[in-house]
Symmetry: C2
Subunit: 299 residues, 2 copies
DNA sequence: TTCGAGCATAAGGCTTTCTTGGGGATGGTG
DNA sequence: CACCATCCCCAAGAAAGCCTTATGCTCGAA
């Protein structure tokens, strides 16, 4: 079985014309070259070199091998170069999945920084809500995902097999119309909104809302539900009800005719980046993760 | 530095999807595969495989490497195949150099046998007289050469650095016109022809002739000289003189109007095949040499 | 829960490969 | 003509690499 190392040596011998010179070129001693060539000749079963007097010539078999060697070694070099580019962040692609409010806040900042630091890397972005995102990760459909979990949620997602990197802690805020009686409050308990009509967000947030309200002893009357955060804010601004949203989600929307009031006691959600243990070792993934942490102020 | 062995293992892992299966395919154990992959990942500096649960997936770097691997391994296989063909006498070329009377006798028989035994091999044939032929060998211009030397010649060629394979012993015969007074002799001493006009052959043979005559105490009167053996025979047949030729040279010519008479004491020349020590190990050269020996009756 | 399959790791033995040191041959040079 | 530099081969010892066996752990299915 011919080895690449043998071809390298053979080529060096063929170009330099001597074992000693080849050894110097390859950074090893002349006997090493001599033994390599002997081993190669033994493995192919025919002489490759003819030594006559001082000069060294290739046999026909040697010429054939040298002829092939250039292509093989070029392919090897190209492979090494491509992998080195990926390892060295001069190339490489990260498939990132995020949830909407993360996409509009953390992600843009992180990707801008990533591009500035490593212009060769590419990031593809998909959106998915947490229960789905970890699944995509496990199925190999993405490399890195932003997810969140509410503190003390009834059913916590199982991330034991993943690398969990906390990015920041978000908290829920109440959104009330500007003229609402609680619009000027410093903070409020969610129970104070028990009788209000509600505007709910995404399905998961909606479940979380109901769970929190349950803890406060009431069932919210949900008049509207939409995935669209600006729409939620707009509906509240129009006086159609109140809402509870993650602060991060509100930040990406220009509030108009609404007031944000802190909830007390606070309901927090932890925003994390998830990846597979092996993928965390991939330079491009690690770099993206790092920029996400930095964008979240936890670099 | 990526090694071909690594690529083979990686490819097996990629196609089978597991280390164990790759090990079975490659005929080694699972830890061997595991260690190889670890070494490869270390050498390229980035993970190539992502293990998640039971399944094994390639990273982008791994995909790149597998993509290159097919071409590289195909090149290696092609190289091995070509060299194996040369080693196995299914291909290969021998550059043979011979002197004229060898070309017309030994060589055709040997090459016919070689072709029958190994149809893939090719022999290129050039003609050169002995002093030149060994030189061509040493200069790498040919692989195998037929040469001869006269027994007890004044200046023997130095073949110490060559492989000398004796093929057969030729002897000089006298050529006289059919009506010559010695035409019916069983044998003759060269001195008996001292007063005859001479027809000489090639320059080297001419030198040899003069040397032999000198030993017999006379200087031949050379009326004609030509490289062309049939011409020599023709001139003798026309009664223009006598000649001394190697028996082998005469055999290839239809004698017409001449008689061959054995010389006594015999003047012998040894016909040998010459090659370089390393070239004697080349299968195609060895096979050709063998057929030459066989054609000469010394197989 | 148990079982089978698969991967990782460690230790031991074997093979390979390198370096060093010495010997022989070649070809140019004083 | 002898000397010297260069280059190759060979042998021995040390170092590194590789493979195997044995063992433990995880995962997924019955």
């Amino acid at each position: 079985m011919i080895e690449a190392r043998h071809l390298r040596v053979l080529r060096a011998v063929a170009t330099t014309g001597s074992f000693s010179a080849a050894g110097r070129e390859l950074g090893c001693t002349q006997p090493a070259v001599s033994q390599q060539m002997k081993a190669l000749e033994a493995s192919v079963g025919t002489p490759l070199l003819v030594r006559n007097g001082r000069e060294m010539r290739l046999t026909q078999a040697g010429e054939a091998l040298v002829r092939h060697a250039s292509g093989i070694l070029a392919g090897l070099t190209a492979a090494e170069e491509e992998v080195a580019a990926i390892a060295g962040l001069r190339a490489g692609r990260v498939r990132l999945v995020s949830f909407p409010s993360g996409t509009s806040t953390l992600v843009p900042a992180a990707l801008a920084a990533l591009r500035a630091a490593h212009p060769g890397t590419r990031v593809s972005l998909e959106e998915a809500e947490p229960p789905k995102s970890a699944e995509l990760l496990r199925e190999g459909e993405c490399d890195l995902t932003l997810a969140f979990r509410y503190e003390g949620a009834a059913v916590a997602e199982d991330w034991d097999d993943l690398v969990v990197r906390p990015l920041l802690t978000d908290r829920l805020v109440a959104l009330v119309p500007e003229r609402h009686r609680l619009a000027r409050a410093e903070s409020l308990a969610i129970g104070e909104l028990a009788e209000e009509p509600w505007i709910a967000g995404c399905p998961r947030c909606r479940g979380q809302l109901v769970e929190v309200c349950e803890g406060a002893g009431f069932v919210p009357r949900i008049d509207f539900a939409t995935d669209d955060y600006p729409a939620v804010v707009g509906l509240v601004g129009a006086g159609l009800g109140v809402a509870v949203l993650p602060q991060l989600a509100v930040e990406s929307v220009r509030p108009r005719g609404v007031r944000m009031v802190r909830l007390e006691p606070a309901v927090r959600r932890e925003i994390v980046a998830l990846t597979l243990p092996d993928l965390a070792q991939v330079p491009a993934v690690a770099a993206t993760l790092e920029q996400l942490a930095r964008a979240a102020g936890r670099g």
